[in-house]
Symmetry: C2
Subunit: 429 residues, 2 copies
């Protein structure tokens, strides 16, 4: 969080990775102009005073490597360039925007730092890699209502990751069947269960019925064991639907709502946060479309700040050695970014590790993250354990115990059966 001042004015700093066949400094100036004031012909009325007060500014440019081919189509080399001679320079560019241009509006901040820039003609690549926001954004947006500490209190788990699972199989399951699938997992000792992102409130499983059925299982378990379990019920839908479903979850004694962030969008999440009494579990499905091309889109370090400021408590980050395409370094960068304060530790969210996770990734995850303030979700890693879900949960807890104690998994497995079985079983798959 930077508070660079220009005549006392706070500025938003946005860091981009660009690629261009044109001179980097000139392109950076064009980016700044496009996102504060510009058109293809100079027009009357654009005064120097206006420019001075509201212009975006190039704070820094750092040239990186040069590549022979453009990463993205459509860019234009300089008019005087020899076509055979064109190369594409990658560079880090830092722009700053006066806070007064956007106020603390998150949607308008998004338009300013990640709007029409992506298609500027000199660019054969543009990725928003980080954001450094004036404190006013955290002061005037709600941030997570529960965050890391609030979530830990709700499940009464304080000294290890929150261990959870996803209801799979899921598409087509009735509420009663969902409860039946969850019952052994809940009884096996998970701290957290969540719906799949594909099921919100379809005809075969309305939220109101599903949450009743699932909470019955959870309440019975809590009564019997005293252990608390959080259920992130997928309420994704229109704003009205989400608010109604949130209330249905709350009325059923539920303690978390899940939303597909990109499918509903930022402003809907802002409204939900305003009205919600429960933590918001943020699913990022669709994120690959914005991030998977290295020279385009967004890095999660920038992106997740919008959702946290809007009020999301838990943010998915994939997992180490996941079954998708994201590299481990990127997963860890995301998770650390989700935990990093924007203005204060209270605005941190809880990173959610998932996708092909079992005990094997616990030591590396712990070492890279440096703490246990995360959710660690396993689907097949629990439900697929050869000795059943109780052993599935146990092996995850044992894996994290080993990680926290600095004991290799194989060694810890010698007197921890669930872990030993898992090491034999999953390693071959």
């Amino acid at each position: 969080m930077t508070e660079r001042s220009s005549g006392g004015d706070a500025r938003t700093e946005a860091t981009y990775l660009i690629e261009t066949p044109q001179p980097v400094e000139r392109v950076a100036e064009m980016m700044a102009g496009e996102q504060s004031s510009g058109t293809f012909v100079d027009v009357p009325g654009e005064t120097d005073a206006l420019r001075e007060r509201h212009a975006a500014r190039v704070e820094a440019t750092t040239e990186l490597e040069t590549v022979p081919e453009p990463s993205l189509p459509g860019s234009k080399p300089p008019a005087d360039a020899d076509a055979d001679d064109v190369t594409y320079t990658r560079a880090e560019v830092v722009l700053s925007f006066p806070l007064g241009n956007t106020g603390t509006s998150l949607p308008n901040l998004m338009t300013t730092v990640a709007g029409n820039l992506y298609e500027l003609q000199p660019l054969s690549g543009l990725r928003l890699v980080d954001l450094d926001l004036p404190e006013a954004f955290a002061a005037e947006n709600p941030g997570p209502g529960f965050g890391i500490e609030g979530t830990r209190e709700l499940v009464d788990v304080h000294d290890r990751p929150i261990i959870g699972t996803i209801v799979k199989p899921n598409v087509g399951l009735s509420p009663a069947d969902t409860a039946d699938v969850l019952e052994p997992v809940v009884d096996a000792g998970v701290d957290f269960v969540k719906d799949d992102e594909l099921i919100a409130s379809p005809p075969y499983s309305p939220v109101e019925e599903r949450v009743e059925a699932v909470m019955d299982v959870i309440h019975r378990h809590e009564d019997e064991t005293g252990d608390r379990v959080m259920y992130a019920c997928n309420i994704t839908g229109t704003v009205d639907e989400m608010l109604e479903r949130h209330d249905a979850v709350k009325d059923a004694g539920g303690n978390c709502v899940m939303v597909s962030l990109q499918s509903v969008g930022l402003a809907a999440v802002q409204t939900l946060r305003e009205e919600a009494d429960l933590p918001i579990h943020g699913h990022r499905n669709g994120w690959g479309a914005l991030s998977r091309c290295p020279q385009l889109g967004w890095s999660y370090a920038a992106y997740q700040q919008f959702w946290r400021l809007a009020g999301v408590d838990h943010l998915h980050v994939s997992g180490l050695r996941n079954k998708f395409t994201e590299a481990d370094e990127s997963v860890i960068r995301s998770a650390k970014a989700v935990q990093r304060p924007i203005a204060s530790p209270a605005d941190a969210a809880m990173p959610v590790f998932s996708s092909g996770q079992w005990a094997a990734q616990a030591p590396d995850t712990y070492e890279a993250l440096g703490n246990t303030d995360c959710m660690y979700l396993a689907g097949g890693g629990i439900l697929g354990h050869p000795d059943g879900p109780e052993a599935g949960v146990a092996h995850l807890k044992q894996g994290w115990e080993a990680a926290m104690k600095g004991i290799p998994l194989e060694e810890y497995a010698t007197d921890h059966d669930a872990l030993a079985t898992a090491l034999d079983y999953y390693d071959d798959r």
Copy 2:
């Protein structure tokens, strides 16, 4: 719009362009599995009956070219492949999803057709290129409240494009200054003016004050000439802010609201449509991040359907020979897609051409589109005309007259001065 049936059930068809080092047919099956029911280990409970009723289905696969290098990082070749021998096959894949999986919920449809698919491990490319929706989506979502005909009626322009402009310069302009900049353009005879996407309701120009100032100019002009002018006032913000600003626009006699679609998101636009009495002008800033990599993201043909079903009336499509990076063929495909009925002509929206537009692009735009049901916006093309904005507007109308009559611009310019001046002036720039 397909109504393929499976036991009488309607299905959503989604067409993807994929790239993969693995066998296309197997990858297509994996895509279908991931988006209906799947985990990395088979688990109990997944019955054949559930699969039958709810499984996504591979409807078609068509192999295209093979490339030696992956377009995106992170994909995995088959386990038994010789690393030196791996190639990447591009293919068109059509999947279908039972309507019962999502109901007619647009956010949940988005998660299903464009969610976690983008990061599946066998894929070195995935782009959602088209959607063919069951009629139920159009029946149960509102669609545009005004669309092409409703918009034409509001400005009383029926036989040519709606000619408009953007307030530029803009960032930093007070409401009074905005009105001063717009006054000569309104008096010059435009049908439509819009705010820049960078200005919604910042501290220096609150919507409530800006719309009063601008509508004063427009009302005075309408009183004097009888010509109507539409002003798309940028109300982008939280849901509550947008609804309040919509009402302020309406109270001031305004006749259109503009929203940065991706910055607020789908569910917020759905709420706005439900409450709004004015047309919704949809700005797609940020679209490049989802579309500019040819092997990733979305095609506009698929994407724009969500916004139209949600109720957006006007959708930006860039323009021919624009100052950005989009190719002309892509611009025209987008514009045609926006006009193409989903279930009926009433759900068509009006494509908005802009970016570096002047009369020069009118003939090609008209020829490619085959009609004049569009907005045609020029910034510098009006305000920068050497003979002033009246000549700027006149030259655009003359350019479209020439296009509709099939007369070359140069010929038409011989007795149309504004066009003649523009041809001399802009061609050199």
